[in-house]
């Protein structure tokens, strides 16, 4: 009896991951991701979206459905029903929700596991939200924005239509209410959601296991003995490592997680795809999407770095700009293949999990089974 009581207390203490923000998790639709706006990327023709993503033209999303939602604030305790909120958002968008944008300093690890398992179960993409002028900067998950213009050769560029559509989409977003981001980044328990994505972007700030003390900002509970603390944290670490192994965030992730003391956080890049998802996509699309994305980043950054203004002189980078533009054009085809593959997978997951609407209680049972199985692995 005493042991059971201690276990309950231990679980209650263990689930507290220190964060600075006290507000609960909020889930909001990203206005610019509503399908009526996304149609602008296809000349305002839903059929073209269907063709692009290999969808059945007869079963297109309603214009008001959201393709992406923003998760902000604290990953809260079980009583706050964060997991149910996410399931409700998935259900409300009838499986057309594809991406979670994350902006959270973390919170309760157990809730993080639940949200993470839901993310993977429904084959969702995740992205650490980025801000522009203090507001969320959103780019649709399936679209590669054109690069800035290369020198004008007077000829119609092969990506001219894509550029026109992108401009129309940006114009259609202009009147929309911006989404201010109080906290920019994804840290601690937020990483449990981010790493669970099947197509991920942005970094996560990690730290090894913490046990909250009584006071705000305490990362260790000094009321327990050193040996008890060590035992508890080792177990929590095993749990989290088991979770991360399952989600496959990349070679540096677990090492950085283990190396970072509880009092601080370290940023770590998350691999875009879990390894075997990457292999599948490379086989299907005949290109390595992750590699091309990195090449894009490298060329773009090299142009910026070569043009740093403080040196007063720089070489022309017209050739590189032309390459980048061509790369974006070629990548757009590659990303289309990747996006279509994900779309099919996600739609089939939703159809299986919510055949006649979503039974959220049943889904929560499935999710909690996954969490229990994880805890067992750490025993």
């Amino acid at each position: 009896m005493r042991r059971a009581f201690q276990a309950v207390i231990a679980v209650l203490v263990l689930v507290v991951a220190a964060i600075e923000r006290a507000d609960a998790l909020e889930i909001t639709c990203i206005e610019a991701s509503r399908y009526r706006h996304l149609y602008q990327l296809f000349g305002n023709d839903p059929k073209q979206l269907a063709t692009f993503l290999n969808l059945d033209v007869a079963k297109l999303p309603q214009p008001e459905f959201c393709r992406a939602i923003l998760l902000t604030g604290k990953v809260d305790t079980r009583s706050a029903n964060d997991a149910d909120k996410l399931l409700a958002a998935i259900e409300a968008n009838q499986g057309w929700l594809a991406t979670l944008q994350l902006s959270s300093g973390g919170g309760i690890v157990q809730t993080g596991y639940q949200l993470g398992f839901i993310t993977r179960l429904f084959w969702l993409k995740t992205q650490t939200a980025t801000a522009l002028g203090g507001n969320l900067s959103y780019t649709p998950d399936f679209f590669v924005p054109p690069a800035a213009s290369a020198p004008d050769t007077g000829e119609e560029q092969p990506d001219a239509e894509r550029i026109r559509n992108w401009r129309n989409y940006l114009a259609s977003r202009k009147g929309l209410k911006p989404a201010p981001l109080g906290y920019t980044g994804c840290a601690s328990a937020c990483g449990l959601i981010q790493t669970a994505g099947v197509d991920r972007a942005g970094e996560v700030r990690v730290h090894r296991a913490r046990v909250g003390g009584a006071g705000k900002g305490e990362f260790i509970n000094l009321k327990t003995t050193m040996s008890e603390t060590d035992k508890r944290l080792q177990r929590l670490e095993l749990e989290q490592i088991a979770f991360y192994r399952q989600m496959d965030p990349g070679p540096d992730f677990i090492r950085t997680y283990q190396e970072t003391p509880a009092q601080t956080t370290t940023p770590v890049d998350v691999s875009r795809f879990p390894r075997y998802v990457a292999d599948y996509l490379t086989g299907k699309c005949k290109i390595n999407g992750d590699q091309l994305q990195e090449l894009d980043r490298q060329i773009g950054n090299t142009i910026t770095e070569l043009n740093a203004p403080q040196f007063g002189y720089w070489i022309k980078t017209d050739n590189l700009r032309r390459s980048l533009r061509q790369l974006r054009h070629l990548r757009s085809d590659a990303e289309r293949c990747i996006a279509a593959a994900h779309e099919a997978e996600r739609r089939s997951h939703f159809a299986k999990l919510c055949p006649n609407g979503c039974d959220r209680k049943k889904l929560m049972d499935t999710v909690n089974d996954s969490v229990r199985s994880l805890l067992k692995q750490a025993q």
Partner: protein, 366 residues
């Protein structure tokens, strides 16, 4: 022709003093000079691994005493321009013994005579200028930038091995950039406006951040003064007056080139070899990319780009180091020319003010 010129000069002599006296002058006016803490040499040495040899070799300088640890490489200039502003700036330049390299400008006010003298001073001492445009602005070292790490041997998805950064200063620069580098700006009064822009345009290198400052930077509504300032800036840059209808005179201030033509020519001459190599590599990377694109960007074709892209990054770093060294030598030489052993502040102020006043006078003839 001669008669025309004489008539113009005579008109200018009448015109400039009239403008000087008509310029608004605030009740309490003074410029304040604040050392940007992160730019003290004791802090900047961290970027050079706290190694004097690295410091001297980076700037291609012969061994000499290091700048004082407390000396500032950059100053923030705030407040309102006043009749003693040029003298105050000169005092700070002399104090820096040639190691003052950059001014972050965030002041306002009109005093054409002082603006001209300060601008002449900035140019003669080869100082770089930064136009502050928003309430939040960070100090950036003017001689080095952080580069994206090189691509690893395993290709675009692998990190480069430790020590394979394109720049040998990258790791220490990364540590330096984690410092508090925020400028202490007045949240209500942060813009570089009016006479400040004349001083900014005199920089040996002129930087502004990307935020549009037009809404934030109030400027005098007197178009005659604005035009005179534009003509003056042109004269300072090119050593001659523009045509009266030159469209450059109606362009926004920030459209002037980052580098004055004479400085750009010096940089090009000093770093010609590095520029050629970087240009050749830029073309080579594009050519290899075109080959990879021809092979439909298969993973192997894309990996073939790695050594060329890494070579371009290294060439870019070498070029920037050469340019930084050229700027450094130019500035230190300028200081030694004006202050060979000791500085006569009064004499220098007189000469520089005279030079500024002459250019202003010429500008007024247009």
């Amino acid at each position: 022709m001669i008669a025309n010129n004489l008539r113009s000069a005579a008109l200018a002599m009448l015109f400039v003093p009239a403008l000087l006296s008509s310029a608004p002058s605030p009740a309490v006016a003074a410029l304040e000079f604040h050392c940007i803490e992160a730019s003290r040499y004791k802090n900047l040495l961290q970027i050079f691994h706290d190694d004097p040899s690295t410091f001297f070799s980076y700037f291609n300088l012969s061994r000499r005493p290091l700048p004082s640890h407390e000396a500032c490489r950059a100053l923030l200039v705030t407040g309102t321009i006043a009749p003693d502003s040029a003298d105050a700036l000169l005092g700070r330049v002399i104090e820096g013994r040639g190691w003052l390299a950059a001014l972050y400008l965030s002041f306002s006010g009109t005093n054409l005579e002082q603006e001209a003298a300060m601008a002449a001073m900035v140019r003669q001492f080869s100082l770089k200028t930064y136009e502050v445009r928003g309430p939040v602005y960070f100090y950036q070292p003017d001689f080095v930038v952080r580069w994206t790490p090189a691509v690893g041997k395993g290709g675009f998805l692998s990190a480069a091995a430790a020590g394979a950064d394109p720049s040998p200063l990258d790791s220490s620069l990364a540590a330096f950039l984690r410092r508090d580098r925020a400028l202490k700006l007045d949240p209500k009064r942060y813009a570089c406006a009016e006479g400040c822009r004349v001083v900014w345009s005199a920089g040996a290198n002129r930087i502004y951040n990307s935020r549009s400052g037009q809404a934030d930077a109030p400027s005098t509504t007197d178009q005659t003064i604005e035009r005179l300032r534009s003509v003056f800036a042109y004269r300072l840059d090119r050593g001659r007056l523009p045509a009266a209808d030159d469209p450059i005179l109606s362009r926004p201030w920030d459209r002037i080139p980052t580098t004055p033509p004479a400085v750009a020519a010096t940089l090009r001459k000093e770093c010609d070899a590095e520029i050629s190599v970087a240009e050749a590599l830029e073309t080579r990377v594009a050519d290899v990319f075109a080959e990879a694109a021809g092979k439909k960007l298969t993973p192997n074709a894309v990996s073939a780009l790695v050594p060329h892209l890494n070579a371009l990054k290294r060439a870019g770093v070498r070029l920037q180091q050469c340019l930084a060294a050229a700027h450094e030598n130019l500035r230190l030489r300028s200081f030694e020319t004006h202050c060979p052993k000791v500085c006569s502040r009064a004499e220098l102020l007189g000469a520089i003010s005279k030079s500024g006043a002459e250019m202003l006078e010429q500008a007024g003839t247009l």
